[in-house]
């Protein structure tokens, strides 16, 4: 018999947990280096640490003086040593040289076209329009500060763009340009060789006629290579600074990239379309009229000021009783934001769009994102107010729950927990990132009292 202060129950016993049993102490566990060694050494080499020695879930709190324990510890330690001592080699063909030109696109206007039709693009058959639209959305030309000499790196499937709006044969017009976070991430990863130009862009990226001219100049006549520290100094800034990114956002970006996601900057918000009235049939209109008058009558007749709200009398079911109790305004989720809802304000707005790594991805024409993320600072901001949270969620796509109308406590829980819109907030506390998912719920959409046999169902469910 469960009660308020019951002990913890394992997830497997909980009848309503339909997801995989999750571990509340998730995610942050130490890495098992033995997994890495098996990756690094390959089948040919024999290492002391084998992957079969991996044990999970057991923890030794004290050394108990057996050699077996020492061996396990030692093998783990040596695996860690091997992993850390692994020599990473940068193949010269994978290294790309990039040049820092912060002001090349400074005067390019921010694209006004919204990205909202990322979802619509996929289905639309008109190839040309999608191409034209896709090429300009999410471009952030004025923010792009690093030009690459080549675009052969595999990292570039989800990074960098060619600025298409540029005039033909202007310097750097066919080059791949990187955003500051992309450039910094590549530098940190060792894939990008960042250079500071000593000469103008015309000489570094000569327009194809004077190819022989470039041959004359040595590398160090063109510029100097930059260190990682220099890259940080160049790319990290405050929010809103052109060509820079705040440290928190970069930390989130880098963390997501290292975890294996594809991340793009979120361009802008959904368009505000006026609430479109769905055409009602005459019947529905009449019916709604009837309902309204009914409601009005009910409102006028009932609700004595100081109660009781339930008028004494004979009731055939609980539904009229609970209907008399409905006083507080409930939330009704709607697919289209109303036109008067304000724009989301920093920091509570979507900054990154995130895709899982296994999805097909084209950076010029990305599919609808898997997640939307806002980045906030844990110390500078506080728990969002209703307006902040509401406008943030209104800028995310409509994602209503499934299994509509199925009866049973499990389905009720599932629908409620799915919510109607959702967004992730990355709360960064001086480099430590906590991801939280927020979702719009609507308890008013689940009238439990109409579920007459819910008690039976819960009774059965709890016995399972």
């Amino acid at each position: 018999m469960p009660f308020d202060d019951e002990d913890l129950i394992p997830a497997s016993l909980n009848p309503t947990s339909d997801e995989a049993p999750f571990d509340p102490e998730d995610g942050d566990q130490a890495q098992d280096f033995r997994l890495f060694t098996s990756l690094l050494t390959g089948p040919g080499k024999k290492t002391q640490a084998s992957s079969k020695a991996i044990r999970r879930g057991e923890k030794d709190f004290e050394s108990h003086g057996t050699r077996a324990q020492e061996n396990v510890l030692e093998s783990s330690r040596s695996a860690m040593h091997e992993v850390l001592g692994y020599t990473r080699q940068h193949q010269p063909r994978n290294v790309v040289r990039g040049w820092y030109f912060p002001d090349r696109w400074a005067d390019t206007p921010m694209e006004s076209e919204p990205t909202s039709d990322a979802t619509a693009d996929k289905q639309s058959g008109d190839r040309t329009t999608t191409k034209a639209r896709g090429s300009s959305q999410g471009l952030f030309a004025s923010e792009r500060v690093v030009a690459l000499e080549s675009d052969r790196s595999t990292m570039l499937t989800s990074m960098g763009r060619v600025v298409t709006s540029a005039e033909k044969s202007s310097p750097g017009w066919l080059k791949t340009w990187l955003l500051p976070e992309e450039a910094l991430f590549l530098v940190e990863r060792g894939t990008l060789d960042l250079w500071w130009p000593a000469r103008g862009i015309e000489e570094i990226f000569p327009i194809d006629e004077d190819l022989e001219d470039k041959g004359k100049l040595e590398d160090y006549e063109l510029g100097v290579p930059l260190s990682l520290q220099a890259a940080y100094a160049l790319f990290i800034g405050r929010d809103g600074e052109r060509g820079k990114i705040s440290l928190e956002r970069y930390q989130v970006y880098a963390n997501l990239r290292r975890t294996g996601y594809r991340v793009l900057r979120a361009a802008s918000i959904l368009p505000k379309s006026p609430p479109s009235r769905t055409s009602e049939s005459l019947w529905q209109w009449l019916f709604s009229l009837l309902k309204k008058t009914n409601n009005l009558l009910a409102l006028q007749s009932s609700y004595p000021g100081y109660g009781p709200l339930v008028r004494p009398g004979l009731y055939r079911s609980y539904v009229p009783i609970f209907e008399q109790l409905a006083l507080v305004q409930r939330h009704k989720p709607s697919p289209l934001p109303t036109s008067e809802s304000p724009d989301p304000q920093d920091p509570f707005k979507i900054h990154f769009l995130i895709w899982k790594s296994n999805s097909n991805f084209m950076k010029t024409k990305p599919p609808p994102p898997d997640f939307q993320m806002a980045v906030v600072d844990a110390r500078d901001s506080s728990v969002p107010t209703l307006e902040q949270l509401d406008t943030l969620l209104l800028s995310t796509p409509w994602d209503p729950p499934e299994d509509e109308g199925k009866i049973g406590a499990g389905f009720v829980y599932k629908r409620l927990k799915h919510g109607w819109r959702n967004a992730i907030m990355a709360i960064v506390d001086r480099g430590l990132i906590s991801y939280m998912r927020f979702g719009e719920m609507a308890f008013g959409e689940e009238l439990l009292y109409q579920n007459t046999n819910l008690l039976d169902i819960t009774g059965k469910a709890s016995k399972q």
């Binding site: 469960p2 995610g27 009781p308 009731y315 079911s317 609980y318 409905a326 728990v383 949270l389 406590a409």
Partner: protein, 544 residues
Amino acid sequence: MAAVKKPAIDAPPPGLQKQSREKQDRSATKPRKIPFHEIYALPAPIRTFPLPSFYPNNPLSLFHVLWAWTRQVLSPPPAEPSVIHQGHWSPETRSVHVRDAVSIRALWEQGFFGKGHYSRSEPNWLKREQNRQGQGDKKVSELVTAQRREERKMMKWDRARKEQEAIHKTRLQEAWRAPVGPMELLALPNSPQDLHVSSPSKLSNGHTSYESPLDSSAPHVSIRSTRNQAPPTSIPIPPIPSLVGNGDAASKIETDPFPSLNRSQSPIPPTATTARASPDTIPSTPKRRKSVRFSPKVESTTFQLFDPPSPHIGSSTNGKMPNGDMTNTTVALPQPMGTVPAEALSVAIPAEGVANSPELVDREHLQLTPEEAFYLVFALGALSVMDPATEKALKAQELFRLFCQLSSLSPKTAELQPDNPFLIQYVVYHHFRSLGWVPRPGIKFGVDWLLYIGGPVFSHAEFAVIVLPAYTDPYWKSQGHQPARRSWHWLHSINRVQSHALKTMVMVYVDIPPPTQALEPSTLLKRYKVREFYMKRWLSNRSR
């Protein structure tokens, strides 16, 4: 505390035997257990009179419907809510007390209102007390929890003991070393008679030469010799008395010419000897850095600082232990035997005292929070609250003013603020009640409310609600009124508790309307808007 002690006292082995006995008793005395959904069938203290359903293919059911209808028309049942329960306002505890036993049961069973003030939740102090005094065997949730905790503790200790045994075994395996050095080989005894002579000389040989219970390839001679050295206490004393004192294991070695055969016959004694020897003789036994695990007295409820880290493997009952019922074996241990009588005595005294007093009076009352009481009065009309000062029933408006004033920080101001804390909490309580949820106070989880579907007896609460006020109205904007800033750390700490307790955290924002002249709660409540948002951790390395 009494409840926790109880199972250990009146039935020392709360194992399978007791459970089966209980089951028999129950089946004998109680022929049928009423299922929960029949006891707790009503979602509110209001009855309904549904007409029987009419089946078109069964014309007789029409008569059934008609008969039921005419009966209800001719002699109508009393208007619901037919029973108005009596509550007493208690200004000291700031709650409403319900003292009548029938009302207590009714309010608990029909909507799960309130809490027994001696109980954790359901008012069942009387049952527990009767249980404690042996007047019946009632199943009470507190006892079930205590028993479950006890079982879990047993399970953990059992697990820890097995772990420790496994460690011990590997340690023994590792410690055994075949005698290969010339001096060691020479020192080996040649015949059983040599054993007595040779044993004192091997004092310096130390702990490293233990016999391994698993290693059968070891030569007989070495086993015999090492076994004789093993008990460290036996070494300084003359051999024969020490062996006697050491118990049957060693004395069997004395009589048996073939120790390996002996070992295969009774596997217990070798471990017994070595285990007893181990804490003293193995210097590599670690210091305890974390005293998290083991007590030799498995049934004692607390860990003592002086408890050794390993269980008492050497006891003669050891062989039975892995197979289950722990308490049976541990009772036989000499140490706990001393503690049991003391506990039994302490219980025996009140038990005698009860025998004199013939009956128990239920001294427990139900306590309702202001929100619950006001809901029962204002929404359902199923409760009337007495003012202790005037001995008169408080009207709904008096109750409302009272609760609002009590919760307000400055009770002097007579004006009702729209963001009065009681009002905000009541809006949320009313909101979820009116949708059919059972909200219960959630202070134990660090939240404002827990939401149950059906009620706490059916399932665990799935949602944990924290209430946050929101000032989105233009009036508040013009006043520059902002809600209190809450830190992210505050939110994370609550969320961590909820995820650990497998609850979904719901942030409920109550949109505060501008002030108004209206005072009736029904018009006030209509101006509030409630928004819910869930919040849970997103695990970046599990969502890929």
